[in-house]
């Protein structure tokens, strides 16, 4: 069945969009990433104008993250306190990011910066996670699992910072500056890349803050809801590029996929879950790198129409 999208101004196959939304929703529930970093390129591939794809995926991410966050919350997997501190940083960071975005666009190499950032961050994050998971899985195989238990407390310079806060749910007692800074850094990147930034936030929570994977997933989803809502509102006001028809079809697919994903997340062991996410993230970065390096079929391209 075909549906005409009023903002994208094109006709699309509803079934294809539905499957897309469902698949991304499933990943979002499973890993706690919004899935925007996968959805945006896929929408562009289907023919949706890039500006509409970036803005509309934020709207779909809200729905997928809300249902994911609720099911994680019911299982006690959301650290609200941590989420709020990350969020505070996120709002500061994304505001800075929007300024940076405008500067880069004026210089004329915005898409190169976006592509290179994706390759760098996805590649680094994916690669590190992959190595880590491999090590854990291998160690477990050799030592019969007894030594795989994570140390509860490793003392680093991070613990010397002031403004210490107790995060009961995560069993952490750390400086609030750390999650705030992580939130801000991810916020800057999220604004430039046009995604919720979950794929960066999640590893930061697991490896820098030392949160348990399941809690990190739930908390990440919780804060993504707010970040994505902020993006949806700003894009609607400044660019009029949020297509509610497109978003709705993706949402219907997404809200069905997300709970299935989060249910599976409860059954899979943490390290396997991380290895799987690492593979996906790493794969996407490789694909983007190949696109940058390979000689394009047509050396000429049209600059996408920017609103106004």
């Amino acid at each position: 069945m075909q549906l005409y999208l009023p903002i994208a101004e094109m006709s699309v196959d509803v079934f294809v969009l539905f499957l897309l939304g469902g698949g991304i929703g499933f990943l979002s529930g499973l890993f706690g990433v919004g899935g925007g970093f996968l959805l945006t390129p896929l929408l562009i591939f289907v023919g949706v104008p890039p500006a509409v794809a970036v803005a509309t995926q934020a709207n779909q991410v809200i729905a997928a993250s809300v249902s994911g966050a609720i099911s994680h919350w019911r299982r006690g997997n959301v650290d609200i306190r941590m989420g709020l501190v990350l969020l505070a940083g996120g709002f500061v960071g994304s505001s800075l990011g929007v300024v940076l975005y405008t500067v880069l666009r004026a210089v004329g190499q915005l898409d190169l910066v976006i592509a290179l950032s994706y390759v760098f961050f996805l590649g680094t994050v994916g690669g590190l996670m992959l190595l880590e998971s491999m090590r854990v899985i291998l160690r477990k195989m050799h030592a019969n699992g007894s030594s795989s238990r994570r140390k509860l407390h490793v003392h680093t310079w991070i613990h010397g910072l002031p403004l210490k806060m107790r995060f009961r749910t995560s069993k952490l007692y750390i400086s609030a500056i750390v999650p705030f800074a992580i939130g801000a850094a991810v916020g800057v990147l999220a604004a430039i890349l046009g995604t919720g930034g979950g794929f960066l936030m999640l590893p930061a929570m697991i490896y820098l803050l030392g949160m348990p994977t399941v809690l990190a997933v739930g908390t990440s989803l919780f804060q993504i809801v707010f970040v994505a809502a902020n993006v949806t509102l700003l894009q609607s006001i400044h660019n009029q590029t949020v297509d509610v028809f497109l978003a709705f079809v993706l949402i219907v697919g997404g809200v069905i996929g997300a709970p299935l994903g989060s249910r599976l997340a409860g059954r899979l062991p943490g390290e396997q879950l991380r290895a799987l996410l690492a593979l996906i993230v790493f794969g996407v970065s490789l694909k983007l790198l190949v696109d940058l390096v390979r000689t394009p079929a047509d050396l000429y391209l049209l600059l996408p129409q920017v609103a106004q």
């Binding site: 023919g47 249902s67 609720i70 047509d298 000429y300």
Partner: protein, 253 residues
């Protein structure tokens, strides 16, 4: 009755039908009359593209050429360059007056009908479109960018790569099927019909065609542009609501 008489009768009938459909077109003393089956393409939620019938009649011999041009806008063409192993954006050329849509129909191959000069004046064929550029680059280089622009537009399905068929029914009546894809941009289109005899344009007629959103699509578009903040808030509410409902439903299942 002679063959000539029959022909006149046919023409009279055709012109009669024409004047009923397009009362504004003068029926007498005109070498060419043409009209569209519909002057408004309404894009509703189920829109997948549209077919419009162009029909008309000519007096005397000749060939008919039809161009369909969408509203004009600026386009920027960029060339990728190879820097440190990466393909990045290099030189760019801006073109003004680029129609968002272009299609050409002719009763015979255009090269056999018109001279290069006529093709250029009447913008027959995408390569003859009147695209302006104030780029300081050499004409040769600008032409390369121009060819690329047309190539991309053809790939997007908005410029027809082949000349469409315009068929004659008998010697007087002609028709052509104008096809618009599902991603056709909205706006005011121009359909130019030319009667060409011995390489010269003997008669021409321009007919407007409007492509616009209608119904719910149009309402959504209007809403998004007129009350952007409210639109954004509603989009968020719908998303949160759907996520919430789905969460509640899945708890029960």
């Amino acid at each position: 009755m002679t063959a000539h008489g029959l022909r006149s009768l046919g023409l009279a009938l055709a012109v009669g039908a024409m004047s009923w459909l397009a009362p504004s077109a003068p029926a007498r003393g005109q070498a060419l009359v043409a009209d569209l089956s519909n002057h408004l393409v309404a894009i509703t939620t189920g829109f997948t593209g549209a077919d419009i019938l162009l029909f008309g009649a000519v007096e005397g011999p000749g060939d008919v050429v039809v161009t369909v041009r969408g509203p004009a806008r600026d386009e920027v063409v960029r060339r990728k360059i190879h820097v440190a192993g990466l393909w990045i954006n290099g030189a760019e050329v801006r073109f003004r007056g680029v129609p968002v849509f272009y299609a050409l129909f002719a009763s015979r191959p255009v090269a056999d009908i018109v001279t290069d000069e006529i093709a250029d004046i009447h913008q027959i064929g995408a390569e003859n479109l009147n695209l302006r550029s104030d780029s300081p680059r050499s004409q040769e280089e600008i032409d390369t960018f121009r060819d690329a622009l047309i190539r991309v537009k053809e790939r997007e399905g908005l410029y027809m790569p082949e000349t469409g068929r315009l068929s004659f029914l008998g010697r007087r009546l002609f028709r052509a099927n104008l096809t618009f894809p599902g991603n056709v941009p909205t706006g005011s289109y121009t359909v130019e019909v030319l009667l060409i005899r011995d390489g010269a344009v003997v008669s021409a007629q321009t007919t407007p065609l409007y492509i616009s959103q209608a119904g719910i699509s149009a309402d959504v578009y209007e809403f998004a542009h007129r009350q952007a903040a409210l639109y954004g808030l509603l989009a968020i509410i719908v998303a949160v609501g759907s996520g919430w409902i789905a969460g509640a439903v899945f708890r029960k299942v």
